[in-house]
Symmetry: C2
Subunit: 626 residues, 2 copies
């Protein structure tokens, strides 16, 4: 057989196996796999360099299926490469199997989870950028894209970023099978429509018949030869190619074939071709940047500083100490203070411009290769990348994210710039950590821990300067809380974090002058929460006021209530939070209007203490009525 | 004076007033306003058709500042048009003023809030689509865009949608002032870089010197003449144009001028030009579609149906009854069942393809003109559009959103397709409504109420068929809850919604066979929550188990805890929720693995009842320790 025949046979095997696994599962996307089978056959047989026995080899290429629903094809490739057995392939979509419905990194050869369309290419850009600027190794990144997902804006953030950064180590393959889930795509088989777009964004575009293995070979060779430009192969394919019952027929998306045996027969039957995928063909180790002693910034108690500034300062300190730390910003570095990192460590700073999805995708791509990224923008604009954060958790990615300009206390800019939902959204990310420091020294103490922590680690920072409460060098663990004020006779507990902790302290002063002792807790670690400290405060004071510069849903108040859910007896909890849409104004005016300033906290405390005294007087027997 | 002189003078006035208002505020974005002043001067003097006395006139043009931070320019235009006084303009960014830091619809001439970049153009596309296909009126939509925001993927979703829909009633003006917040943009003054991109996406592109009023006049005329294509004016401008101290100088973003008096003098001093903006120049009323009797679908108790299917059925019924109802889908209409609407009422169905940001923006744009949009996709993928939803709330928009395929109970497709954070994220949207119906008849009953309700109204639907519990025609109010099972002697309350309600009912059966009576509450309205029913259940049974196919943060459990926060005595609350990252499997396997199936609910109930009996025995005195 010639190579061409081998490749054709391999393509047929990949189709057959895609049909077999999805038929065994009773669900899945065989037709979306069949369209790209020839493209992937030639890729794996000749162009991919990957040591399946050593998936962590830094020299390996990266293959990312942006069209994650073509997972049957990916698993068929893994089988052909000898990475998984035929039996394991046939556990597709079964409970407990690592051959999941869409690819996830529970498989060692999968870099990131895909299946939310439009994410694989942006992440591939992140990996390619890592190859060029961090690892400094000549591995290639291959990304299989669907034509439907070309409608996602995030794809164009990726095309723009890759073009701008001249990522000629990146090749996208667009499987233009013209049929989406419900019907034809916007551009059908108009390959030129895609060509015009991607060329305009600075890519080298190559059109090809995606079922002509010789042409595919030529296209891949041309892509590899591209110099100074990322390359994209725009392949005309048929969904369900090779099987008459489904080929190019609408309504065949996302379901197993009706007659798999007939289809397999039409494709020439089962094969058991094994492909010896080429191993990396160069020597070299990933570049390392210098490391040094960690010397965190210090802030003098009694002075004032913004936690966003402390974040920027501490990130530079961490970057100097650890060569694996990198920073990415969404073109607001003079607000988030990553500009300090960009000046001190320009080789490890990445400007994402105003493209938050690409910013998070870049971070995810970098951690694929073991780097420790910190991504930063206004916390409000992280909402733009929320699906990327959600999927990063499915990818088991470890990334640090900082969001500045939290809450109404940013003042005059108004609600479009105010993060008022970020604690809720980041708490609702699987395995996440949510930090909201209240002082600059505490911020600095938490930054190195963010770098060490698994999962999505979010820090919310404050725009305004706030008083330095803690001594430099004091220890603050993730998962802790700090009791800032307490007596043996506290009648109420005030729990705040960030800017509201300072309001709580002022409220405690006001209460003290009324003869009321208030415990004050700094809940700088919102998730994980220091449940023991919160529960003790509840038991010992009987009443808790939570106060947050955030909507009432999903933030500090709800985190506190959650850890008290099973407490008996249960303290009264009063949640102070932002409840009306703010406008513009000074920070003080807006915090007062939202009812989260010292005066409102003190008032709420007086009310709850009064009520609780009344309750104690009235109460005769115990607990709940039955 | 010639027209040209008038326009130049007006441009200078808009600059002077942008400087004056931001100087009075002590913050704001004068330089970003000054770059676009000449463009907007010619637009308002000659091309805009808008009756400022009648902002609700359906024939009015629409002017949307996608670069919302150029609000000083917008307000200066409103002053020049006589809509606001000079005094009011100078209340810019002051507490209580409607002249907010970024534009919001508290001003009657502002359609939508902007300030989160990359949203104004997608929403403009929605308004333009409304003009073409719903209102069927020849008003024009003008959208002022920044060059920095061209990096946002959402802009390219908009360019793609407008090109595809041939929206020649839409003109975007890109203010290419080459300087972003922190430094130069990606493309600087390379106007051709923008031209290539937008032309590739099917737009007519016109390059112009953005400070040459004659050239601007020509460009706007050419834009208006565009036939069958949306048009974009790519204008080379200077940030801070006209004032030597700031013109084209980096580091001048987002701050008032150091010496406003000198700047105003350099611009020729204050002016008080009034522009008689042309009123709409055509007759006509907005198109109306037929209305009819509402005849909701009915489902036979004892049979099974998926709530997503009931959503699709009921949406058709509502659409037949109400001509203002429209549907938009993200190319998954055979999953969300909007395909029924697309077949029954094709004139009011909009295919957004896989572009969720544009989907929500289209909905926001349509409600600007009084239409009642329902947007639908997998609930997981609504995460992609979260910033658009956040901003829609700032826009005081009323839109209905349906998210299907909630939770692990979707089964084999795996975590990328499972919405496990949607209740949390939608609860944390200001003024939102969050519905999660448990049965098809209930779903149908809620759909018309979604159309009548203000704000962001989200419905979560279930992929799997679930038993019909309720009779057709039973009333279910938003804000209610349904006690599905109760006795006078309930020892525990089980609260679920959607698929978990059915598990709770099975658990109650199992408990009953142990001689334990369990109250079962259907929390179909998660926000607003029926606090009275929840509190009564807590008081009367002493223990609540919440169960949800959602992460533990921000969903049903937290909503229940929130309304119990101040309850004394307080029931024990046990939250059952998804806590580990799921994989693939059958719905039953995955619900069991997550601990949210009937067996786990019954076990949790037995445990909590045991504990609570022990607690009652041990308890001597009352309440909290002091």
């Amino acid at each position: 057989m010639t190579h061409l025949d081998d490749w054709r046979e391999l393509g047929q095997q990949l189709r057959v196996d895609s049909i077999r696994s999805s038929s065994a599962a009773g669900s899945g996307h065989p037709t979306s796999s069949m369209s790209a089978a020839d493209l992937m056959a030639v890729l794996m047989a000749k162009y991919l360099h990957y040591d399946f026995d050593n998936p962590d080899d830094p020299r390996n290429d990266h293959l990312i299926f942006s069209k994650g629903h073509a997972s049957p094809l990916l698993y068929a490739m893994f089988k052909a490469a000898g990475a998984i057995s035929d039996d394991e392939m046939l556990t597709f979509r079964k409970f407990g199997s690592r051959i999941e419905g869409h690819p996830t990194p529970v498989l060692p050869w999968v870099d990131v989870a895909t299946g939310s369309l439009g994410q694989g290419l942006p992440i591939s850009v992140g990996v390619a950028l890592t190859g060029k600027r961090l690892d400094r190794l000549p591995y290639r990144v291959w990304c299989l894209c669907g034509d439907s997902e070309m409608a996602e804006g995030s794809m164009w953030e990726a095309f723009e970023a890759a073009g701008h950064n001249a990522l000629d180590n990146l090749t996208a393959v667009i499987d233009v099978n013209r049929l989406g889930q419900t019907g034809p795509t916007m551009h059908g088989w108009d390959l030129d429509a895609y060509r015009r777009r991607v060329e305009a964004f600075g890519w080298k575009a190559i059109e090809v018949d995606g079922h002509d293995v010789a042409a595919i070979d030529g296209a891949l060779a041309e892509a590899v030869a591209s110099n100074g430009q990322p390359s994209v192969i725009i392949a005309r394919t048929e969904k369900g190619h090779g099987v008459t019952a489904v080929a190019d027929i609408p309504g065949k998306h996302g379901k197993p074939l009706d007659d798999p045996d007939a289809a397999i027969a039409e494709l020439g039957g089962r094969r058991d071709i094994h492909v010896g995928v080429a191993k990396p063909d160069f020597d070299g180790r990933a570049h390392e940047f210098p490391t040094g002693e960690l010397s965190l910034p210090v802030y003098e108690p009694g002075t004032k500083e913004a936690t966003r500034k402390a974040f920027g300062d501490a990130l530079v300190a961490l970057g100097r100490a650890r060569g694996d730390v990198v920073a990415i910003d969404g073109e607001v570095g003079n607000s988030t203070y990553t500009e300090e990192f960009s000046e001190a460590l320009p080789d490890r700073f990445f400007q994402s411009y105003i493209a938050e999805q690409q910013m998070i995708a870049t971070a995810v791509g970098m951690q694929v290769r073991g780097w420790t990224p910190f991504a930063a923008t206004f916390a409000a604009f992280l909402a733009r990348a929320y699906d990327f954060v959600r999927m990063a958790a499915v990818s088991r990615a470890s990334i640090a994210i900082a969001g500045s300009h939290a809450g109404v206390s940013i003042g005059e800019d108004g609600p479009s710039q105010m993060a008022l939902e970020d604690l809720a959204t980041f708490r609702a990310v699987h395995g996440s950590t949510v930090l909201y420091p209240s002082d600059a020294n505490q911020t600095a103490a938490l930054i190195p821990q963010m770098a060490d922590r698994d999962g999505i680690v979010f820090m919310r920072t404050t725009r305004e300067k706030t008083p330095i409460l803690y001594d430099p060098g004091e220890a603050f663990e993730i998962g802790g809380a700090r009791v800032v004020r307490r007596t043996d006779d506290d009648a109420v507990t005030l729990i705040g974090a960030g800017i509201t902790l300072h309001e709580a302290l002022k409220a405690a002063d006001a209460l003290a002058s009324d003869g009321i002792n208030a415990r004050v807790v700094d809940l700088y670690s919102v998730k994980p929460i220091d449940a023991a400290t919160v529960r003790a405060a509840g038991r010992e004071t009987g009443a808790i006021i939570t106060v947050e510069d955030h909507w009432a849903e999903g933030g500090i108040g709800d985190a506190v209530l959650d850890c008290l859910a099973e407490e008996q007896p249960h303290p009264v909890v009063v949640k102070l939070a932002v409840r009306d849409m703010p406008g513009s104004g000074t920070p003080a005016e807006l915090m007062a209007a939202a009812g989260i300033d010292a005066e409102h906290i003190a008032d709420a405390a007086r009310t709850v203490i009064g009520r609780s005294r009344e309750h104690s007087r009235d109460e005769v027997g115990s607990g709940r009525r039955e």
